[in-house]
């Protein structure tokens, strides 16, 4: 149904006109090549469909457009694909007075995101020693199912993590004070309420702080292959052939439990406040309601948990590399740290008026453009960087926020390629060990805690990240700063 109504409004933009119960239109920023897969398959949510149970992403864009208090448009970024309630790559901003907070707009892995560290090393330094580098990182950074962090927390410790975010890790001696300026929200969400997080959720963090997790999470050693925007690259302090380290992980079991706890609570709230539930994962509560406030307090705490995790892991990376290259920790700086499963209050201009809005980004990063006061001073003129993850075998990108992105998509960015093939299919097609050997022949060292897990993450199981970046840059939402390639990848 959505496919028939779709109207082209630009080279990389399509509109789902406001019809029926939609309060705003849907805006979908994709190229023709990316649109194709979105059109195939109507909503399968109710069907048996071989067990697919994927909702059609366009239906999800429409469902989000029906939520109370949504402002301007229900937005799908170029890496849009079906999610839970919101599509992945979905952005929705809500009025704080009459809008809602929706669990599907955040997901289970709260503040899953990427931190990139910039080293003073060059490709020439690391290339001949990349096996050694991969081994050191693999040994030093806990990853994979059941791995335990180097810090053991008590209940009081978890509350501190939830209240302070990255600052907690810093106070425990993990990382450098200058890291904080280069983390979204300075690594510490305002309004985090540890009291809104269940004991069940907190218990899951006792042993998990500073662990990478598994699935699509990774630690990658990359070199800068190409600079696309010399001015921004200078501001970021990166140059061709420089070695960067990307850390992709989230809020671990604690964040997952906040989501699991919220599902039934927000389902009850949706009924209580008379908000139709169009998909079971699209449950929500009015922002001003006690249920909405509790969920927001818990999510903000979950965001802090992820900031603290990435801060600890960054420290472990520095520790692992220090002896190999006689690098003092201060020589490895945080380029930036930005999440892609978040909900936050932000100020945006809407129809010429500045408003405070609650912005959900599910599988989308914040990407604030030039001039925004939230950006670190050094990056203020060019906008902050965002990181678009490729796969183990392909390029990743560093993009930045733009003025067009501020105006059209509430300063949001793309976050990755997105899967094209199910894990089961990938596992049938590739064998983990062979895949690792084939990547080694291409010059990419992979260390994985699970070969089966590595097979599921085969580059061929993902969509083409180049197409996603082309559409984001083509639509003007984000600008290209650099293209990076992997030398070594650690998988959970």
């Amino acid at each position: 149904m959505e496919a028939e109504n779709l109207r082209r409004i630009g080279e990389y933009a399509w509109e789902l006109p406001k019809t029926g119960e939609m309060r705003v239109p849907g805006w979908i920023f994709v190229s023709e090549a990316l649109l194709g897969p979105l059109l195939s398959g109507e909503a399968e949510g109710e069907g048996e469909g071989g067990g697919g149970h994927d909702w059609n992403a366009l239906t999800q864009v429409r469902n989000v457009a029906c939520l109370p208090g949504i402002v301007k448009a229900s937005i799908a970024m170029p890496d849009v694909h079906p999610g839970y309630g919101f599509p992945i790559g979905g952005v929705g901003a809500f009025d704080p007075e009459d809008g809602v907070v929706a669990m599907g707009g955040v997901g289970f892995d709260i503040n899953c995101g990427v931190r990139v560290l910039a080293t003073p090393l060059t490709r020439g330094d690391v290339e001949p020693r990349k096996e050694e580098v991969a081994d050191a990182l693999f040994a030093h950074v806990p990853a994979g199912l059941g791995s335990e962090g180097k810090i053991r927390l008590t209940l009081q410790g978890v509350d501190e993590v939830l209240a302070k975010g990255a600052r907690f890790a810093l106070e425990r001696g993990y990382g450098l004070p200058e890291d904080l300026e280069y983390i979204e929200e300075n690594g510490e969400m305002e309004g985090a309420d540890p009291g809104a997080v269940s004991l069940k959720a907190k218990e899951r963090e006792f042993r998990q702080i500073g662990t990478l997790g598994s699935g699509n999470h990774y630690l990658e050693v990359q070199y800068v292959e190409e600079i696309g925007d010399p001015e921004a690259a200078r501001a970021y302090g990166i140059e061709k052939d420089q070695i960067l380290i990307a850390i992709h992980c989230g809020s671990r079991g604690l964040g997952h439990q906040i989501g699991q706890d919220a599902l039934p609570e927000l389902e009850r709230a949706s009924r209580k406040y008379g908000i139709p539930i169009r998909e079971r994962e699209l449950v929500c509560a009015p922002i001003r309601s006690p249920e909405g406030q509790k969920y927001l307090g818990a999510v903000f705490a979950g965001i802090n948990c992820a900031f603290a995790n990435r801060q600890v892991i960054a420290h472990l990376v520095r520790e692992a590399l220090a002896p190999l290259f006689s690098l003092p920790p201060g020589k490895i700086r945080t380029l930036y740290d930005v999440g892609h499963n978040n909900v936050k209050f932000e100020r945006h201009r809407v129809d010429g008026e500045e408003r405070r809005l609650l912005v959900h980004r599910k599988g989308s990063t914040r990407a604030f453009g030039p001039g925004r006061p939230e950006n670190p001073e050094r990056y203020r003129r060019v906008g902050h960087p965002i990181f678009v993850g490729g796969t183990m075998g392909t390029a990743s990108y560093i993009l930045r926020g733009t003025e067009v992105g501020m105006e059209k998509v509430f300063g949001s960015g793309v976050h990755g390629a997105g899967r094209a093939m199910s894990r089961a299919k990938a596992k049938r097609r590739w064998r983990g060990q062979e895949l690792v050997q084939s990547l080694a022949r291409q010059g990419i060292v992979v260390r994985a805690h699970s070969y089966a897990g590595a097979a599921e993450e085969a580059p061929g199981a993902y969509k083409d990240v180049d197409l996603v970046v082309e559409a984001a840059v083509g639509a003007g939402l984000n600008a290209l700063v650099a293209k990076v390639r992997p030398l070594a990848c650690i998988k959970g």
Binding site: G45, E48, G50, G51, G52, H53, D54, W55, H81, P82, G83, Y84, I88, G107, F108, D109, G144, L145, G146, S147, E148, K200, E203, R204, F206, R207, Q208, G213, S214, G215, G253, H256, Q257, G259, Q260, L263, P264, R280, E281, G418, R419, A420, M421, S422, R423, A424, K425, H449, S450, A452, G453, E456, G492
Partner: protein, 147 residues
């Protein structure tokens, strides 16, 4: 729809980003236990996980669908808190005061990356594709899990 074979106790359903798990059993309790097996089969080769230690699990809900998601979610929590994997499950469901109460038991052991052939970590059980219903002479219990 074909009647599920009792000899196929659980299935992993294809899903682009994640995976569906479907437990099949002669009773709803057995279908719930099989769904749990299916979920843990994503995380490890279950033949390598010894059912040595018993862990009790109690959850309540208003519907069978909610109960299934709560049961699977609680098992994931036990996995994280205890650092365990499970390979055997038993479930009893009773209705009291208009609510469904599940008393379950899970048997497993501490995670040992050296011995367990590990798979991917399941993050959460979701309401996507959730379905608990009678099929032919038995029951199915299924939902999508977030990986």
């Amino acid at each position: 729809m074909a009647v599920p074979e009792v000899s196929v106790p659980y299935e992993i359903l294809d899903h682009t980003a994640d995976a569906g798990v479907r437990g099949i059993g002669p009773t709803v309790e057995e279908a719930f236990a099989e769904a749990a097996l299916g979920m843990f089969s994503l995380m490890a080769d279950l033949d390598s996980v010894r059912p040595e230690t018993e862990v009790p699990v109690e959850v309540q809900a208003d519907s069978l669908e909610e109960l299934l998601v709560a049961w699977l979610g609680e098992l994931l929590r036990e996995r994280d808190v205890r650092g365990m994997l499970f390979s055997r499950f038993a479930v009893r469901i009773a209705e009291r005061d208009g609510r469904l109460h599940l008393s379950g038991r899970a048997w497993g052991e501490g995670i040992d990356p050296g011995r367990h052939r590990l798979g991917v970590e399941v993050k959460a059980a979701t309401y996507a594709g959730v379905r608990v219903e009678q099929r032919g002479g038995g029951w199915i219990a299924q939902c999508v899990v977030d990986l």
